[in-house]
Every structure is written in structure tokens, then in C-alpha cells.
Symmetry: C2
Subunit: 330 residues, 2 copies
């Protein structure tokens, strides 16, 4: 089969279209004919330096998938049949969906609603699972609470806004480009802070009578994580989806009696921690998508052959919503 | 009234027995005749350097109290009557119970069971509220889970063991003195690691098939907090009751998809964050104490006049359970 292989660590020129073996199936696996995948920051990080040493080239990236079941392992067959349209998150630790076929654990997949396109469905899994874990399972955002979502126009952020609004929370979000500001407003964000024009922490304190917000969902990390420590309310909760920050949270968070959640969506498959919950969450998301209550904003669609360009776009940090990757031309 | 006043920051010689004004009552306050108080690490920290600059001498320490209501503010009168025996946590930001009388917000107090002595009741509030927040509200320890409790023979630790066992969890705890080891075993700890004889993180990994424990309750901080990051399971939760550690948790916790809770029991009164919950938790604890399911281990009882000695003992780090302080000689 054809696959876009990351042949070694490096710039986008390490990505080569090659002929490779179809994936081997385990008992829990589905062989999925890939119709679409999507770009995520994890693709460019893995291409540049593996994932904390956990991946070594050559490997195939593309962890979101939407496609059609073509074969199934012995355990998987009772749950999905050949011909089913499915979408989901492929393990970060196996070859991905930048290829004609991908193998994925059936427990992490869900049926794609007929009314949702493959491009739309493939744009959901990583962003949705990350936002769901952050906003629902970890921060447990409640109706009436205020949550600050960083980079609300980004891949994870724009899904997080929708989940927080579905729960009845008030959403403050940061955005700077016109396209992102327009997107977050269309998704119901209550207050948009243009972080290039003003200091978000000062603005949040001003908006909250110096108290800070009950919950912060950080999709940026680094200095944005560090500054977030200054505008969390006493008793508040922060979730970050970005590894690494020089800021030691102890000094700022201890006397606030606050909580800090690290959200790494690769963990359930890495450690075999209830991978079936991924499939369940995606099934719930599929229902919301079918009802028109949840939608990935795919701002541009490229083909597998244009993957290097897609990586460059993703790394530019200017993408609104998601970049979809069309694989099967049908 | 008589009070032991911390006249300035310093060693125990700054503690002086003085004649001071009785506390002024606000509408939510009870005036409590102090029968007993107890030592906590927060007393010695406040004596040495305030609490992160939040307290300036002269002040009266002693934040746990058990005693008898002698007057009540206008809002408090509907809830407690003169003559009621009460116990609770006095605000860390007001004068404490190292005195004949103390004022306390009625919402943070509970009725003392008749079968529990003042010394016993005064040994509970800070330790119980801290352990309850850590084990129940933040870590949400469940039946069948394994929790590692550091310093299980200490003031907070020995209450945490009891709460975790009441929930049906498996308890691994660290202790080193004979008295502490005996105490934690009597409270039902399943496994005791003598941290002076072996590396607790290695031992925990060995005991858990290299997986680590689902929950850690850290009552020690510093290097113990840092090393705890090495033996938490993927998806695990850590709660620490000690401010400040040089260890930045991000690197160890991010890829484990873990959560970190800072537990500072002064926060509800400092920020007026549901102080009524303190009274409710203490009322529940009072029921457990009355039923014989929960008991503070008071290893020694000193008098108010012996407070300097009590501070020295507390600072020695060798106390098993709690030091009770008898105030009213009746």
C-alpha cells in the first residue's frame, strides 16, 4: 500500500511517499481503509523528535482516521463488520493513517454517522478526546462556572468551547487572528481576549473582580501556562494539554488550594488504561455531531501527497480549527 | 484574658503568656471558652515566618479548638446556643485558641459529641479537614484502589489512613519510629514501608508490578514529593499538603496523564470559599468519632503554659499522632 513515511527525524523533507506492507492485525484490530485523516501538533512533534523517545523512524504518522472497515481481528469482528464506516484515534505508538490502510484497536473506534463526512469525522478524534478529557473528565466544568480556554480558535480549543457551552459554562477565550475571533464567536464564546493586544491574565482578573476563573484549559503551554497561574481562582482547576513548562506551579497554586491536571491523550493506549472509554466518548460525540451540536471546523483540506505542506501549515501556528487530509479519492 | 502570644517571628522564646483583650465578635462568630487546642505544623511555621507574609506578630496561635460557647453573634445565635460544646478550625488569619477564649465563625464549627473529650475533639479539626479534602474530595480514593500515604504516623497521616480504610482502599504508608509503625498497623494500614530502611518509590514499584499507585497523599513535601512523582501510576492522582518543592512535576506527570492537587486547608476561610462545608465535614467526622470509627491519636498532652515545649516537640518531627494542649483546667 501507499504511505507517507517519516523516514527519519527532521524537517518536512523527511516525509516520503513509499510503498509499504499493509499493517498486521491483532485480535482486537480493525483494518481500516483510510478515507481521511487530519493534522495535529503531535504529528509535527513526532516527525521532529519522536515523542519523548517513544517513537523511532521510520514510521507513518496521522493518528486521526475516518474510513471503512475492510478486515477485523477475532475479538473485533463481534463489534464492527466489514463495510462499516468508522472513525477514531489510532494509537500514537503504532503506524498511523497517512496511508491507504491503518490498523486500530476496535475499542477506540466508533461508527461514523452517515450525515458526517469522512473529512469532518477525521477532524474530531484527537481534538475531541483531548477536549472531553480536559473540560468534562478532569476540570469537570459545571453550568454557571467560568472557564478560560486558551487558543479557542485552535484544533482542540474550538472543540473545547463547544463542550463547555453544551455544559452551560461561561467561556472566556483567547484568539488573535480575524478568522479565529470569528470562529470562537460563532461557537458561542462569551468573551474573546485578543492576547496579542492585551495581557490575558490582567484582563481575566479585571473581568472577575480580581478573583480569577474557576477553570482554565491551556492548549498553548510555556509562558501561557505560567501566566495562567496568576489568574486562577482560589479552589480552581487548571488542565494543560502541553508537556513541559519552566514554571513550577507549587508557589502559585498551593495557597490557592488549586488542582492541576496534565492531559495526554496518548496515555490510555500507551498504558492500556480503559481504551474502551475512547470508543464510548467518540460514540457520544458522534451523536452530538449528528444532532448538529458539535462540529469540527475544517478550515482547509489537503491530500496525502501534500502532507509536507500540511505539516508546515500546522507548524506555522496560524491554522484556524483543523487541517483535513483527504486520502482516498472517492 | 490569658493568652500565649507570639510576640515576634523567631524561636520558641517569642511565645509569652500575656493578658490581652477578649476577641471582638462579628455577626457570624461564636465566643468559645477554650478547653483544649492542639499543635499543628502551621503553628510553628507561623511563629517562624508568618504564613507567606499573611500573618504579622503579635498574634495568638492555636487553630484547633474544642470548648464551650459563651456568647454568639447575631447570625450565629440561631445555630449554636450558649453552653453548647463545640469543636472546629479557627481561621488561620485571626487570633487562635492558645488563649482562654477564641472567636470563630459558627459555620466552621460543629457540636462535640459528649462521648469525645475536649482533648480528643481538639486534635481533630485541622488534621481531619486536611485528610478529608485530600483523600475524599480531591483524590477521590475509591474502594479497591491503592493509596500511598506519606508519614502515616503523623497528625494528618494517621487520620488519612482511617479515612482511606473507611472507603475500602488498600493503604501503603511510610513510617519509621516504632511508635508510628505500631500506630499505623493498629489503624489498618495494609503495607508499611520503613522509609529510613528502604527507598519508598522503588518499594512501591516493586509492590505494584512496576505500575505505581493510583493515588498518593503527601504529608511531607520536598524530596518526598519529588520522589513520589516516580511511583504514581498512569492516570494517577497526587495530593500534597506541603507548599513548595523544587521538583517541577510537568516532566514526570504529563505523559502519565496524571493530576496534582494542592491541599491548603486555610483557603476556605481565607477566600470565604464555602466555609459552611467545614462545619458539615466536622459534623460527619463527629458522627464517625461517636461510632468509634475515627479517632485522633493524642500521644501526649501539655498545658498552655508548656506551649514552647510543645512547639519544640512538633518541630522535632518525632511526634506520633497529635500533641494535645489542655487550656481550661477543669
Amino acid at each position: 500500500m501507499k504511505a507517507l513515511v517519516a523516514t527519519k527525524f527532521g524537517d518536512t523533507d523527511v516525509l516520503k511517499l513509499e510503498e509499504v506492507e499493509k499493517p498486521q492485525l491483532g485480535a482486537d484490530d480493525l483494518l481500516i481503509e483510510v478515507h481521511a485523516t487530519a493534522m495535529n501538533p503531535v504529528d509535527t512533534k513526532a516527525r521532529k523528535h519522536g515523542l519523548g523517545g517513544l517513537r523511532v523512524p521510520p514510521f507513518v504518522l496521522g493518528f486521526d482516521v475516518s474510513g471503512v472497515v475492510r478486515e477485523s481481528g477475532s475479538n473485533a469482528a463481534a463489534h464492527f463488520k466489514v463495510g462499516d464506516e468508522v472513525f477514531g484515534l489510532v494509537s500514537l505508538f503504532r503506524n498511523g493513517a497517512n496511508a491507504e490502510f491503518v490498523a486500530a484497536d476496535y475499542r477506540t473506534m466508533a461508527k461514523k454517522p452517515a450525515s458526517v463526512s469522512h473529512i469532518q469525522a477525521a477532524a474530531l478524534p484527537i481534538a475531541l478526546l483531548t477536549a472531553w478529557d480536559g473540560i468534562y473528565d478532569r476540570l469537570q466544568v459545571k453550568s454557571g462556572e467560568t472557564v478560560l480556554i486558551h487558543a479557542g480558535g485552535g484544533g482542540v480549543g474550538h472543540i473545547a468551547i463547544q463542550l463547555a457551552k453544551l455544559k452551560g459554562a461561561k467561556v472566556i477565550t483567547t484568539a488573535s487572528s480575524n478568522a479565529s475571533i470569528e470562529l470562537v464567536k460563532s461557537l458561542g464564546a462569551d468573551i474573546v481576549i485578543n492576547h496579542k493586544q492585551e495581557d490575558f491574565a490582567k484582563k481575566v482578573l479585571e473581568l472577575t473582580n480580581n478573583n480569577g476563573v474557576e477553570a482554565i484549559f491551556d492548549c498553548v503551554g510555556g509562558p501561557v501556562f505560567a501566566k495562567s497561574l496568576d489568574c486562577i481562582a482560589p479552589g480552581g482547576r487548571i488542565a494543560t494539554i502541553v508537556e513541559g513548562s519552566d514554571a513550577n506551579p507549587s508557589e502559585k497554586l498551593f495557597f490557592k488550594n488549586a488542582s492541576l491536571h496534565y492531559v495526554f491523550i496518548g496515555a490510555p493506549l500507551m498504558y492500556n488504561l480503559h481504551p474502551e472509554l475512547q470508543g464510548k466518548v467518540l460514540s457520544e460525540a458522534a451523536k452530538l455531531a449528528e444532532q448538529g451540536k458539535l462540529k469540527a471546523h475544517v478550515s482547509q483540506v489537503l491530500t496525502l501527497e501534500q502532507l509536507a505542506e500540511a505539516h508546515k501549515l500546522q507548524e506555522s501556528g496560524t491554522v484556524t480549527g483543523k487541517i483535513g487530509i483527504k486520502v482516498l479519492n472517492n
